[in-house]
Structure formats: C-alpha cells, structure tokens
C-alpha cells in the first residue's frame, strides 16, 4: 500500500500516537478517534494527497483508508 506510510505518519504526528502502534489492521476506534477526529484526519489527508475523501462505514482501519487513497491516486 503506497500511501500507508504517509497516512501512518500523519496520524502519529497529528494525534500524538506512537508510530509503532499504527499497523494496517489498526482500527480507528482502537486509537480512540471519534467521528469528528476522523473528519479532522480526512481534511489533513485531503490536503496532503490532493484527493477528495468520502468516508463510508467500510473504512474502519488505517490500511483501508490507505487503500482508498491509493485507488483515488491511481
């Protein structure tokens, strides 16, 4: 997943989470992120990757959002 590393770094930097805790299958809920925190992240990632992101209920892990971004970038 091309974007995973960048997504993980953005998460670590903005949420003060240690990068070791962020794996592809790490759930957003496990990182104590509520829906507004998710929107903050979406805004940051949209700017970083220059893509438009629309969350859906399947995007539950860091890996899944990286996949979504990869698909938009392709």
């Amino acid at each position: 997943m091309k974007s995973f590393e960048k997504v993980a770094n953005l998460l670590a930097e903005n949420r003060g989470i240690s990068i070791e805790e962020i794996k592809e299958d790490t759930k957003f809920t496990d990182l104590q992120l509520d829906s507004l925190d998710m929107m903050d992240l979406v805004l940051i990632m949209e700017e970083e990757f220059s893509v438009s992101i629309e969350l859906n209920e399947d995007i539950t892990t860091v890996g899944k959002i990286a996949e979504y971004i990869d698909a938009r970038l392709a």
């Binding site: 829906s35 998710m38 929107m39 903050d40 805004l43 969350l55």
Partner: protein, 319 residues
C-alpha cells in the same frame, strides 16, 4: 463600506438547561457533551416566546442606539422558526415596538445575521433606507427532538439585534450558498390535504449529518476568513477579535488552528448558550461590547456557516 452600528442588544431565556438535566432525558453524559461540543449549559424557552426574546433584543438595541422605533426605515429578522410562519417575526416585532416601516424575515440558517448585513448594506448604499433594525432570533428548542441525543444537546435559544445606519465600518463581507438537502434539514408540517400521501412525512425536528457538517464548516471558515481578509487588505494579526459561529467548540478549535488564530482572540459563548443559530454572533457582539471587551476602533471578524448550506464572513470596525 456602507454600515455603521449605532447600537446592539440581546435577550436570552431565563431557564438554564445544563448537561446534568439532559442526562435525564437522553442517554448521554456531561463528560461526553463537554468533550464533544464544549457546551456546559444552554438557555431554552419555557414561559417566554421567540416574540418576546426578539422584541427585547430589538428594544435593547434601539435604546443603545438612541433611536426611536418610528425612525426606523426597515426591519430585517433572520430566523428559521419565528412566532408564526405568517406573520413574519419581523412584522410581529414591528408592531410590538411601534415601528411603521417595512419588515421581512430571512432564512439563511446560522449565517442569517451575516446575510442580513449584506441586505442592510445594499439598502443603505442605495439610500432606500437610512436606519435599519437587524434582528437574529432563534428558538432552536422548538425544532429539536428531545429524544435524539445527537442533536438536542447542541442548541439553545436567544436573540440579538443591531441598529444600523450608513457609515464606513464594514470593511469587507462575503456570503455563499451551496444548496444541499442532505446535510442539515428541519422539515415542515404539511397540513392534511386529502390529495397528498402523508405517510412518509418527517417530524419537524432538526436532523444533521454531524461529521459532514463539521468538515464543511472547517473548510468554509478557512476559505471565507482568508477571502474577507484579502478583500480588506488585512491579516489575521490586524484583527482584534474573531466571532466564529458557536456551533461546536471543536469546529472553532479546528478552524482557528488551521488559520493560526491565537486563542485569546476568539470570542466564545458556546459553553453557556450552546448553538443559538443566527442569534449567536449578534449576542456575542452585544455582550462583548457591554462588558468592555470590544472597544471602539477594534477590528472584529465574523464568520458563520449553516443549513442551506450557507456560509459568510465579514470584518467590522467597532464604532
């Protein structure tokens, strides 16, 4: 540009609805509400009416402006839910205060006050009116579902008003609309026509996609603030205070961080009044002037967003 504020007024209901009381109505906690929204209390109508709140705010603004109601040329009232659908709340205010001028309501949801300023600007610039009363009055508790924990904790009631004449205190103003029936709605009742199928009609309560509205708001505030600063040839540093629509403390935090607005420059009343829709900004304006925080010569930037979806921003010199 066009506008001078002669006087301000506001009026809040007496009853303080705190988070503790809400925990008895819906499955929520003070901690959740505070962390999620920044709200500890809000004022809601019990014995009062939106008519009473708006008339009191108007009278207070007229007194502070030293203007008689009969000298008004126009009354504009921003509201999503007045005393009636008809007569408009502005007409009800007109009669109560003893004014003789034309009066109409506008609905730009939470951006109503800023939209109202654009209308006042046009009337004053054209000479069609010399003295304008602009009121923003909202009874959000009357369109809230007190069984829906996602929304009923957010809103409060209140009214704010300004009296305006021609002047040079409006440095820039910008409003937008992006029509959208999905993000934020308050349905209306549809009567009992036997010629229409009423089966799927919704109750007249506010419904909102919170996270999407959050995203919309943070982006809109960023865009609109930069736009009005550019138009006025000013920077964030030139602005003394920011009145960001108090929908949710987290929206204000996210937007102000993005713009590097120092926290001490943010006007705030969400913790005690909740989201009072279009009344929020004129209430903050009135209270900040009366408590001496906003002084003559200071620059105030207003920014708001709301159902529509509408957005707006403006920069004012305080008179």
């Amino acid at each position: 540009m066009s506008i001078k504020i002669l006087g301000t007024g506001s009026c809040l209901p007496e009853f303080v609805l705190n988070n503790e009381t809400l925990t008895k109505l819906v499955d929520t906690t003070d901690e959740w509400i505070t962390l999620r929204t920044g709200i500890k209390e809000r004022r809601v109508i019990t014995k009062e009416s939106i008519k009473e709140l708006s008339v009191n705010a108007a009278k207070s603004a007229l007194k502070s402006a030293n203007i008689l109601p009969e000298n008004l040329d126009l009354i504009i009232c921003a509201t999503v839910h007045g005393q009636y659908l008809v007569p408009s709340l502005s007409c009800v205010i007109q009669a109560e205060i003893g004014a003789k001028c034309p009066a109409f309501d506008i609905n730009a949801a939470c951006t109503g006050f800023i939209y109202g300023l654009t209308i006042a600007k046009a009337y004053l610039e054209s000479g069609a009116a010399k003295k304008i009363l602009l009121v923003a009055a909202e009874s959000m508790s009357e369109v809230s579902d007190y069984t829906d924990r996602a929304t009923c904790v957010l809103f409060g009631d209140g009214a704010g008003a300004v009296v305006l004449e021609k002047g040079d205190s409006l440095l820039s103003i910008f409003v937008t609309a992006s029509g959208n029936e999905e993000l934020l709605t308050i349905p209306i009742t549809k009567g009992n026509s036997p010629f229409v199928d009423h089966t799927n009609e919704k109750m007249p309560y506010l419904d909102m996609k919170g996270p999407e509205v959050y995203k919309f708001a943070v982006q809109a505030i960023n865009r609109d603030v930069l736009k009005v600063l550019e138009d006025a040839k000013l920077t964030i540093d030139n602005i003394d205070y920011f009145a960001i629509h108090q929908a949710n403390a987290r929206i204000v935090d996210a937007a102000s961080q993005k713009l590097n607005i120092p926290e001490e420059k943010l006007l705030k009343n969400i913790h005690k009044y909740g989201n009072t829709s279009s009344a929020c900004i004129p209430i903050m304006l009135d209270e900040s002037i009366r408590e001496g925080k906003l002084k003559k010569g200071m620059k105030l930037l207003l920014t708001a967003f709301g159902g529509g979806m509408t957005t707006g921003a403006a920069i004012l010199n305080i008179d």
